[in-house]
Every structure is written in C-alpha cells, then in structure tokens.
C-alpha cells in the first residue's frame, strides 16, 4: 500500500481524458468519468497537471471547449518523454516526486515513467472511476486552503512570471508585492490547516516531527504551550496559512518545539519573520529562548535560518538544541508589513 498522500495527479489526454486521438480526429469526446474525477480531486485540494504527446495549442483549445483547461497547472504538452514532463511538474510545484500520480491508457508510457521514477503511482486509464476512492487520494482534511489550493498556485504562477520580467533586484521585487504577514494564536478552526501544514511541509520542518490534530488541540488548551499560525497576503491575493510555531513555555525558558514554513513561500523571504517575532517576544518576556532541531536530509535551510538569526548550538546529540541571543531586538524586513492583530472575518 502506498502511504504517501497524492498531491498532484498528472493526466494523459488521448484515450485517457478523452476518447480518441486529437491529432487524427478533432471531434474527440470527453470521458464523462474523467471530467467528474478531475472536478472531485480539485475540490479536495489535489493539484492536477497534464503530460501528453500532442500539439500544445490544439490540446489547449480542446480543453478550453471542455471547460477543463483551468484545472491544470504547468501542463506538459509536447513530444518529450513523459518521465521528463513529470519531473518538470514536480519541480515547478516544488513537491516530492513520490506525491505524484500519473494516469495513462498506454502501458508503454506508464512503464517509461515507472522506469525513471519508481515512486510515481501509475494508474491505468481503465481505473479512472476508482481514483476518488483510493486511500492516497483522500486528504485527511479538506480545509479552506485546500479548496483554494489550485487558485493559490495559479496566482503564484502569475507572480512568478511578473518576477521573471521584473526589472530590478530581488529585494525591489519583494517590496513591490506589498506583503502583509499575519501572526496569530491558533484557534481550533486553524488546526486542521495547521496539521495539514505539518504533514505537507517537509523542507522547512525544524524537527521533522509531525504533530496530529489532537496533539495540537491539546497544546492550544494548555497554558504551557503557545501555538502560532501565520498567514501571508500580497497584492495578488492570499498565500493562505504558511507557517506554524509550537512553543513550550516555562518560567525561565521558552522552547520552540516546532517551526515550519510552507515551501511555497521560501522565496518570499518571510521564513525568518516568525522566528524573529518569537525572539522579540521572548526578549520582552525576559526569558531564554531555545529551539529543538533534528537534522533531516532536507531541512538544512532551517539550520541556516537558526544559525543566521543569532542562535547558537548548545547541545548536539540526535536533537540539536539552539539558544537565541536575546540581547538585541530583531528587525523585520522593510518589504513586509507584520501584524499580529486578530484577523477579521474568514
């Protein structure tokens, strides 16, 4: 059984999504069950893309006629091997290749993908109807953020294109986004998303530990703990909930048990803000601030984040313990407006 939840389903077109071969017959007909599955997965917050050997403009027009084009991000419609297309999609979305599934009617194509990426779940097009009931296609929670996920990614693509054409430095670009970073105490309704974030975020998890909904809920109800969630907005829209911190408070020491940031925002330079906010709060409260860190093969960026923000290693075993220098007030970058005012609505 595949344990990893699927984050993105990649579809073939000819004889998979529609009946017929577009290059030979312009009147291909959408397979009803495929259309339904695509809409259902979208509601669940599972991203979708395309890998098809076809003419890009022709396929795009056909999918627009079917009202399906907008469901797919980073479509790979070209004559290259599908294993390459799949790799490109995973890289563009910035998710592990093991969280992709690939649907194709041809055994040859599935085998080609499997040969290069054995972690990809390959599904025969005759099994389309079964997709929604597969365990790996059922996210544990469906939150506001999951319903908006595709939209958030599409907004990201727009931003990235603007960035590519931006005439100026990275810092100027970040300034131009007019970002606002919200830091709030987590409430119960934030927890599903918070847990989802702990499950989805690998690169930027400081301990690799995944907290369950119940564990986080117990922490919220306990004065000893503080759970902070962070949201990021900019002029293009919201990125949703992008960060979480779990802090255990004792009289003299606060300990960051978990710090995580969504990998979607690492290029936005907000990774440090939550950490700096906590440092400043600890300074105000007159307590020591420590943080647990468990190195994984993916979270070196977190190690650097701590070290470059005035933390020193005070203990090194399996778990590294950092301690912050709280002798100075940390600055928040000029391009971000940081607020911890309780957000209204939503």
């Amino acid at each position: 059984m595949k344990e990893t939840k699927i984050k993105c389903v990649v579809w073939d077109l000819d004889n998979t999504l529609w009946k017929g071969i577009l290059q030979e017959d312009d009147e291909v007909i959408l397979k009803e069950e495929a259309g339904e599955v695509i809409k259902e997965l979208d509601k669940r917050g599972i991203l979708q893309s395309l890998s098809s050997k076809n003419d890009y403009e022709l396929a795009k027009r056909k999918l627009e006629e079917m009202d399906l084009w907008n469901y797919f991000i980073y479509p790979q419609i070209n004559w290259n091997p599908k294993s390459e297309g799949i790799e490109t999609i995973a890289k563009n979305i910035n998710i592990g290749i093991d969280s992709l599934a690939f649907v194709d009617d041809q055994k040859f194509e599935r085998d080609e993908v499997s040969y290069f990426h054995k972690e990809v779940l390959c599904i025969d097009a005759s099994e389309i109807k079964k997709i929604p009931s597969m365990d790996c296609m059922k996210p544990k929670y469906i939150t506001m953020d999951s319903k908006n996920r595709r939209l958030m990614y599409q907004t990201d693509i727009i931003r990235n294109n603007v960035e590519k054409d931006f005439n100026g430095t990275k810092e100027d670009f970040l300034k131009s986004l007019h970002m606002t970073f919200y830091i709030n105490k987590a409430k119960e309704e934030d927890l599903q998303r918070a847990e989802e974030l702990t499950v989805r975020t690998h690169q930027l998890n400081s301990t690799g530990h995944i907290y369950s909904y119940d564990e986080l809920k117990a922490c919220i109800g306990d004065e000893k703990y503080e759970v902070l969630v962070t949201r990021l907005d900019d002029k293009y829209g919201t990125y949703g909930t992008v960060g979480l911190a779990l802090i255990e408070k004792s009289e003299k020491v606060w300990e960051v048990k978990l710090l995580l940031m969504s990998c979607r925002v690492i290029s936005r330079g907000v990774g440090n803000i939550l950490l700096n906010y906590i440092c400043n709060e600890a300074k105000k409260a007159g307590v020591k601030l420590q943080a647990q860190f468990v190195p994984t093969d993916k979270n070196r960026i977190m190690y650097i984040t701590y070290k470059f923000n005035g933390f020193k290693e005070i203990k090194e075993k399996d778990t590294i313990v950092f301690e912050a220098d709280t002798g100075y007030e940390r600055k928040i970058p000029a391009y971000v407006e940081c607020t911890n005012i309780e957000r209204r609505g939503r």
Binding site: M261, G269, P333
Partner: protein, 75 residues
C-alpha cells in the same frame, strides 16, 4: 573571488552600493532562501563543503568575511 561573490549578490540586491564590510543581512534581505543559496553558491563555486560549525552569521555577514572563510578553506 570577490568579483564572483559580488556577481552572485547582484542577483538579490544592488551590490554596487554594498561595501566589503557592510552587513549584507542588514539590508532588509533577511531571507532563509537567500542564506541557503549563498551557502550553496559558495560550496559549488569554490568546491568546498561548509561544516555546521562554520555556518555562523559571522562568517557570512559581509563580503570580507566570506572571502576570509573561503580562503581559509582553500588554504
């Protein structure tokens, strides 16, 4: 060496206004990704591997410090 570092920094900031001893992390560019990219760039460009104990802001805070770190590693 300095030129290569400046070229890299130029992708993120207006490097011409950054002096050799100006703190590059105080320009407002407090950014995990930038820090990681800086470290990776140095490792690849100069074919060295930076150990955990060397991952200290003091070694990366300005162009002068970075040059010193690389020279020490290459020596």
């Amino acid at each position: 060496m300095k030129e290569k570092i400046r070229e890299f920094l130029g992708r993120f900031m207006d490097e011409s206004s950054v002096g050799d001893e100006d703190n590059i992390f105080e320009t407002g560019l407090v950014n995990s990704l930038f820090a990681l990219q800086l470290v990776s760039f140095i490792e690849q460009e100069f074919e060295i591997s930076i150990e955990n104990e060397e991952l200290d802001i003091q070694n990366f805070k300005d162009i002068h410090s970075i040059v010193q770190l690389i020279s020490k590693k290459l020596a």
